[in-house]
Point group: C2
Chain length 330, copies 2
Amino acid sequence: MTVLVLTSEEDVTADLVVARLNGTGIPVVRIDPADLPGEVALSGEYVNGAFRGHLSAGGRVVTLEGLRSVWVRRPGVPGARAAAPSGWLTEEASQAFYGMLRGTGARWMNHPDAAARARHKPWQLHLAQRSRLPVPATLITTFPQAARDFARRFPDLVVKPVSGSHPQEPPRVVPTSRVAPDVDFTAVAFGPTLLQRRVVKRADIRLTAVGDRILAARKAVAPGAHPDDIDVRFAPSDEPWRPADVPTPVAEAVHRYLREAGLAYGAFDFAEDLDSVWWFLECNQSGQFGFVEMDTGQPIAQCVADWLAGEGPRAPTHPHDPQGSMRMAP
Amino acid sequence: MTVLVLTSEEDVTADLVVARLNGTGIPVVRIDPADLPGEVALSGEYVNGAFRGHLSAGGRVVTLEGLRSVWVRRPGVPGARAAAPSGWLTEEASQAFYGMLRGTGARWMNHPDAAARARHKPWQLHLAQRSRLPVPATLITTFPQAARDFARRFPDLVVKPVSGSHPQEPPRVVPTSRVAPDVDFTAVAFGPTLLQRRVVKRADIRLTAVGDRILAARKAVAPGAHPDDIDVRFAPSDEPWRPADVPTPVAEAVHRYLREAGLAYGAFDFAEDLDSVWWFLECNQSGQFGFVEMDTGQPIAQCVADWLAGEGPRAPTHPHDPQGSMRMAP
C-alpha cells in the first residue's frame, strides 16, 4: 500500500515527511499534478462493475486501488506544464486525476471537499462556536450602519480579510490591522468587511492537529511590543515558539472541530489573553508547520508521516454511507 | 421560514418554481449573488457563542437563521456586478456569502460541496457501479497503448469529454462521437481521453430525481436514425419525450446514488438497449428539466417547489456529525 504525495518539486516540508516515510520502508510516490499529461500518466478502466486504475510517474507505476493515503500538500494545477496548456486541458486533466483518486478508498490529508469548505472564514467561526471554542466578537458586513453599531459596542477593533490569504501561489497575505472606532465605515458597502474585537494578548498560540494528535506552540508577546503589532506573521519579535500544554477543554473542542470539518490536518491560530483564555482566530487546513518544528523540536513531520503510513479505517465503500469518503480517521 | 433562490435575473425555469412557491404562501427571496455588494447586502455577527445574520435585497430583509432551504439554481459570481469588480472582491464576497449560508441549518438543492464533487465524471462512473447501475465499459487514459487495447476489446466505441460541459456560462458542450477502433491513439498522451463502449440504443432516458421522487422520460430512437447520431442533445429527431416507468432496481440504485452523492437533485441520462437495459451515462446535478416537463407534462417544477417548501430534517447542528450539512433529505 503506497502513500501518494501531491506537491511541487521544491518543497522542503514534503522532503522532511518523505524522508521519514522512506525510513519505514512504506512505498511513497511523489508527483506534481502539473506534470499530467506528460511526466505523469494515468489510466482507469470501468468494466463489468469494477474499477481498475493506475498512475505512472518517473518510470514507477502504482495501482490506484493500492493507495494507502493521499497527502495534498502543495500540488500544481493539472495540465499546467503541458506542451500546449489551456483551460480546457486543465479541466479535463483535473477531472480525470481527482475524479479517479476520489473513487479510491485511500485516506486523504486533506480531502479536497473538506479543504475547499474549510477555507470559508465565516464557516470557521460558526464551527468554532459550535465546537465550544471561545471566538472574539466578530462582524462580517456590507452594511455601514452595522459596522458603526459594532464599533460602538466593541471600540477596540481589528479588521482582516474575510477570505484569509488567497489559495494562489504564492499566497497573497493581507495583515490583520487595528481600526479606530470612529473611522468612516461608508466603504463597507463596497466589499464585505470583517471586524473583530481585538484580543489583548499575552501570547500567540499555534496548535497543529494531525489526526488525533495535537501539538501546541506558544510565542509570548515581546515586552514593550507596540499594541498596533497585531499580526504575529508581521510583528517584529525575537521571542521563539515554545511547546505549550493544551488545556483539556481546548483539546476536546479542537477534536470536535476537526471531526465535523472532516479534516485530518489543521493549523489553528489562537490569541492567549491576560486570563490565559485561548481565543480562536482561524484554522488553516494547509497551514505550514516547518517554522514551529524548527523552534520547538516538536515532531510534526513525524506525526504527518505516521498518519499517512497508518492503517486507519478506509472510507466505507458501500453506497449507504452518505459522506464516507470525507470522514476523518480517528 | 423563507426559501432562498440563487439565480440570474432571466431564468424561466426558476420563474416556474417561484410561481408555484408563491402559490403556497411560503416566503421566497430570489437573488443573484453577482449583485453582492450592491443590490444585495449581508451582515453576520458572531457574539457570545451565537450567530445572527441577515441578507437584504430589493428592500426585503431575511434572517439567515430563518432560511428553510437554498436553491442553487444558476447563480452569478459574487462581486461580478460591483462598480469595480476584481478577483479579490469576488473572493471576499464569495467567502462572506457562501461562508455565512453554509453556517445556517437550511437544506440545500444542491449543497455546493456535493455539487462540486458530483461534476467529476470518473467519480460518477465509480459511484454508479457501486450503486449497482449498469455502466458501459469505459476507459479514461493518457496511455495510447491502453486506448489501443481497449479498442481491440470494444471495437464499437464513442469518445466524450472527461469533464462534461464546463461549469461556465454559457456552458461549452462537446458532443459524444463515434470513434473507429483503428484510429491513431497517439494523441491520447496529450490529454486524458474517455472512451466508452457504444450502447446500441433503442431510446434515450432522462430520469429526474428531486428528493425521493423520481420521474423518467423516454425518447425513442427515430426509425432509420443514423448510427453516428449518438448524442441525443444534437441528433435530429421528431420523437417527443414521453413519460416512462422506472424499473424497481433502477429506482433503488438511483436512490443509493443520490444518498451517497449527497444530492437533492440529479438529472440522470441512460441509454436503453435492445434488451431494455438502462445503461448509466451520467448524472448532471444541475441538469435542465424544462424540456422534459414541456414534452411529458411531468410536474418537475412542482416537485422542486415541494422539496424547497418541505419541512424535511434540517442539518444537524451539533458537532458530532461529520458531514451533517451535506446530507440529503429523504
